[in-house]
């Protein structure tokens, strides 16, 4: 089982049954995608492109209309698999305030474990570990509503990792955060991936965040239109802009210099690479 999450000819539509006759909106057309264990995949696409719908297919919130999705070999269509799939692939949403249920941080993190019927001693252990992993252990007895946005989002992530999932799906987890909060959450995500081997699927509108992934999948009108390493994806500046997306500022700068005739790589996506390249061009001139 090399492919941890697998979508085969996945089709999905939303059906509005209030209208008469019901209105069907096709969101995912024919998605074929394999995500490997331990991978860090960023998913890009404009609003309404179908990326959140796709992520919800990965933990059986959405069930395919046709085609199949398997998570760790388990078919999401089979209701008997539901609990196991949800334990395997946990989800973090955009607004931390909508995800926090308890009045004390550690109780919030323990919420899912209690529902799963985990032993109290084991709960204690897992909650402490999860809070330490996201750097919120000192705040375990605090009230969540008094935390900053970045801290709340890390508590939400702790609640998911306490279930010890093999994969975490994050739907724009930094959209409502300030720069420091965004940096904290990204650091936590990368650490979970690199040190704990957790598979990450990150939906984001921030290109600098996507640049940190191993791989980027671009969705447009329910189809996968690009699937490659960040360097290759971001080098297609005009294609991305036509899709309503963007590139990191450093990529944009390199692209502008290249167009003006200077010898600079269009595969620059990090600050380090950009500084090196500019230093070289300025020295050559």
């Amino acid at each position: 089982m090399s492919d941890f999450i697998q979508a085969k000819n996945l089709k999905f539509s939303y059906i509005n049954e209030i209208e008469e006759p019901p209105v069907r909106t096709e969101v995912l057309k024919d998605i074929n995608l394999e995500i490997h264990k331990g991978e860090f995949v960023a998913v890009l696409g404009h609003n309404g492109s179908g990326k959140s719908t796709l992520a919800k297919c990965f933990n059986a919130i959405n069930i395919p209309e046709s085609g199949t999705v398997t998570v760790n070999g388990l078919d999401t269509k089979d209701e008997d698999n539901l609990l196991e799939i949800r334990k395997t692939a946990g989800m973090v949403f955009q607004n931390p305030d909508n995800q926090i249920v308890a009045t004390i941080v550690e109780e919030d993190v323990a919420f899912a474990l209690e529902n799963m019927g985990v032993e109290p001693n084991e709960i204690r252990k897992r909650v402490d570990e999860a809070l330490k992993t996201v750097g919120m252990y000192e705040y375990r007895e605090h009230a969540p509503h008094k935390l900053s946005g970045g801290q709340k989002q890390r508590v939400a992530i702790a609640g998911v990792i306490a279930m010890q999932p093999e994969c975490i799906l994050l739907d724009e987890p930094t959209a409502m955060l300030d720069p420091k909060g965004r940096a904290e959450v990204m650091k936590t995500i990368k650490q979970l991936n690199r040190e704990h081997g957790v598979t990450i699927v990150l939906i984001t509108h921030y290109m600098e965040e996507a640049a940190q992934a191993d791989r980027i999948v671009v969705i447009d009108s329910g189809d996968i239109v690009m699937d490659n390493v960040p360097k290759k994806v971001f080098s297609q500046v005009s294609t991305l802009k036509n899709l309503g997306l963007d590139v990191p500022q450093v990529t944009q700068l390199a692209y502008g210099l290249k167009k003006a005739g200077y010898d600079i790589s269009t595969e620059i996506i990090t600050e380090d690479e950009c500084v090196e390249a500019l230093e070289r061009i300025l020295a050559d001139a």
Binding site: N47, S148, D178, K180, A183, H205, G244, Q249, L253
Partner: protein, 284 residues
């Protein structure tokens, strides 16, 4: 003349309780008419509390607020008229739509101002056009529109009151890059056409750098600085220490400088950085 001015403005939440917190601490600021001001600050820095004083949603614990030269809480009978001068668009304003049609929703503010029917009609149509809503949408229910369209309706509803000062709290949050550019572009066009003052609250340093003529930085309930983008982002280290950042492009040029490459100017947009590099490369 300053269109917004504060004198020793302070605001305390939960006075007399164990949860007492100073949210705005002795703020003195003067915002000139016609500026496009970016407002930045970490979560909890006091920026939302501060701007809620500008149209009298909050009453200062101490100190004064002046709008268009008049003190806001001096004469309560004037408060309503002064409030009409400062329009506030909250975060995710699309959740505040409530009318049966787009037209009625945009007309709500102007109607409350007691304007004539003709004037209301002119304003509704003009602002709808300004935010890029086609006339055919005006008779639709706002709840049948897409998220981006709903947000435009909500912004148009405030613009239709023609406030001298328009304050927007994260108007582009949750939108994709193109949607962001569209919303910020229409705010920029509105600013160009009307020359009214804009206050744009944002967590995106890149957006603030690109659109503002001045930046107001809040930190720990105080104004850290109020200056041009160039001079604000010049203080990169201090901004990072207070949980903010500078645009990625500014970090790159700062690192080049640190490596001994002499660059006189501060760079905070990609366009300016490219121009600077191209000029320099041509010269050599």
């Amino acid at each position: 003349m300053a269109v917004i001015k504060t004198e020793n403005l302070s605001y305390v939440y939960g006075e007399g309780t164990p949860f007492r917190k100073i949210a705005v601490d002795n703020v003195n600021i003067e915002i000139e008419e016609g500026e496009f001001v970016g407002v930045i600050g970490h979560t909890g820095s006091g920026k939302s509390t501060l701007i809620q004083h500008f149209n009298g949603l909050l009453r200062p614990t101490s100190g004064k607020v002046f709008v268009d030269g008049e003190e806001l809480w001096k004469d309560k009978s004037k408060l309503r008229a002064l409030r009409f001068k400062v329009g506030l668009v909250f975060q995710y304003p699309e959740y505040q739509l409530f009318e049966e049609t787009v037209y009625k929703d945009i007309a709500f503010g102007p109607t409350n101002m007691g304007l004539s029917r003709d004037e209301i009609d002119r304003r509704v149509r003009e602002t709808a056009r300004m935010v890029g809503l086609s006339p055919s949408l005006l008779e639709k229910s706002p709840f049948d529109l897409s998220g981006g369209q709903k947000r435009r309706v909500a912004i148009a509803g405030v613009m239709a009151m023609e406030p001298k000062v328009l304050i927007l709290d994260e108007p582009a949050s949750g939108l994709d890059p193109k949607g962001r550019e569209q919303i910020l572009g229409l705010i920029r066009d509105y600013h160009k056409t009307t020359r009214n003052t804009i206050l744009l609250i944002s967590h995106s340093m890149e957006d603030v750098a690109k659109h503002s003529s001045k930046i107001l930085v809040m930190n720990n309930a105080q104004v850290f600085c109020y200056d041009t983008p160039q001079r604000v982002f010049h203080r990169a280290n201090e901004l990072e220490q207070m949980g903010l950042a500078v645009p990625q492009i500014t970090r790159v040029f700062n690192r080049l400088k640190a490596r001994g490459i002499s660059i006189d100017e501060d760079v905070y947009t990609v366009d300016f950085g490219r121009k600077l590099l191209l000029e320099r490369l041509k010269k050599e």
